[in-house]
């Protein structure tokens, strides 16, 4: 296995990018792009687990298509992250040869699918987040990131339309469907704290015009969530403290199983081509 040191700039294995101030900037920016990429990749992989198991053929196709979009977005972002890092890692190396502690996805994205309603709740919360993030990133000083965001935004719009419509149908549906999505919402809500609480990396990226100040996006996200929850006759849970820091590489046990499945082929047969 290769030495994996993303985010620890200046180590001997990280190529010419380490050392200088420019090199440190590049490694930070790479790490930020990986947060976006990994969130899309992990969520796309989760949705892929539904293929052949969704409650109806239409939803099977729907979830598979959203999964494809997310994995496509992840590929563009991973490729860009690798180029920014400048250590010669391509999308496949970044996807298949990093361990869990190097993955920087939001903790919410790795939560298990549960039933269809729980998958929809998770999807809705992240779709609404990606909509705000990508909309802002169109003006990022990282022009490639801005291009990828403009493309991803178009897709995120109809992902959100799909998840919001289903959430309303299930919330304002039968007693049983409402009970289940409300429970899923209560359980997943604490993970949403991580979406808008900025750490040092988020703040650095905002200061250099690469990313949005996260706090600035929160009210729009929150308003959209409220609007849909109201129509879905669901109760917005109270905010809580959050001990989850997936974007900093601290994950629960779920991510390990997901990566074991996703990475198995490349780990078992390194360099194998399709």
């Amino acid at each position: 296995m290769q030495s994996e040191r993303a985010g620890s700039g200046g180590s001997p294995g990280s190529g010419s990018a380490g050392g200088s101030a420019d090199g440190r900037d590049a490694i930070e920016r790479c790490r930020y792009i990986l947060r976006l990429a990994d969130t899309s990749l992990v969520l796309g992989q989760r949705l892929g687990e539904w293929v052949g198991h969704a409650p109806a053929l239409e939803e099977d196709l729907g979830l598979a298509n959203i999964s494809l979009d997310l994995i496509g977005q992840a590929r563009l972002l991973l490729t860009h992250a690798g180029e920014v890092e400048g250590a010669g890692r391509d999308e496949d190396q970044l996807a298949f040869l990093r361990d869990g502690s190097d993955y920087c996805n939001l903790t919410l994205a790795e939560q298990p699918n549960g039933d269809f309603g729980r998958t929809i709740v998770r999807q809705f919360l992240i779709d609404a987040w990606q909509l705000e993030i990508y909309e802002w990133l169109q003006q990022s000083k990282d022009t490639r990131l801005a291009e990828v965001a403009a493309k991803a935004l178009k897709e995120t719009r109809y992902h959100l339309r799909y998840s919001a419509e289903w959430l309303i149908r299930l919330g304002d549906g039968t007693e049983e469907s409402q009970r289940r999505v409300q429970q899923a919402l209560d359980e997943l809500w604490p993970f949403t704290q991580e979406l808008f609480v900025a750490d040092a990396l988020d703040e650095d990226m905002a200061a250099s015009g690469i990313a949005s100040p996260l706090a600035q996006l929160q009210p729009r996200w929150s308003a959209r969530i409220d609007e849909v929850l109201r129509e879905a006759t669901l109760q917005r849970p109270a905010d809580t403290d959050y001990p989850w820091h997936g974007k900093r590489g601290q994950h629960g046990e779920h991510l390990g199983y997901l990566l074991a499945e996703m990475q198995h082929m490349q780990r078992a047969y390194p360099g194998a081509k399709w």
Binding site: L68, R157, A164
Partner: protein, 169 residues
């Protein structure tokens, strides 16, 4: 000079004609030119050509097949060096499907996309989609997602036929 420019124009026209023969693998009546994904094509040297291609959807598996088909068609036309460049910006929109392409879609049984791109404020607004078989606007959406990323699944309540709708993005 004028004749040199005219000759270059003619050569570029010929390149576009070659690309007209490359069909979308999922919708084989539609060429990549009709689809509006060819952003530029130019000769870059003797027997060398560069083509800019935009993906329709980030994750569309047809994209790689299309790239390979474009390269094969230009090689068959005598170019030894073919560079297919990925052009992401500005992002492809269904508005770029040609009028001819829309007509081909309709005849193939796929309702073409409407012309306005969806805005975030109109998240749940939906324009009526006419049935490609009988023309009625009495249609209902069965699913936003169909057999490929670009299509949604509809049903006509007038003639009772199910049909695909090429989504508007």
């Amino acid at each position: 000079m004028v004749t040199a420019a005219a000759a270059a124009d003619r050569r570029e026209q010929a390149l576009w004609q070659v690309l007209e023969t490359v069909m979308d693998p999922e919708i084989p009546v539609l060429s990549v030119v009709d689809l509006g994904i060819i952003r530029h094509v130019r000769e870059t040297g003797p027997a060398a050509v560069e083509v800019g291609v935009s993906p329709t959807y980030s994750g569309c598996p047809a994209t790689e097949v299309i790239r390979a088909d474009v390269e094969r068609a230009l090689r068959a036309d005598g170019f030894q060096q073919v560079v297919v460049r990925d052009v992401l910006s500005p992002p492809w929109t269904s508005d770029w499907i040609s009028e001819r392409g829309r007509e081909k879609l309709r005849r193939y049984g796929i309702a073409p996309p409407e012309k306005a791109v969806s805005s975030p404020s109109g998240l749940r607004a939906r324009a009526p989609v006419a049935c490609p078989r009988c023309g009625s606007e009495q249609t209902e959406r069965i699913s936003e997602f169909g057999s490929t990323p670009c299509k949604a699944h509809y049903r006509c309540t007038a003639c009772a036929e199910p049909f695909d709708h090429f989504k508007c993005i």
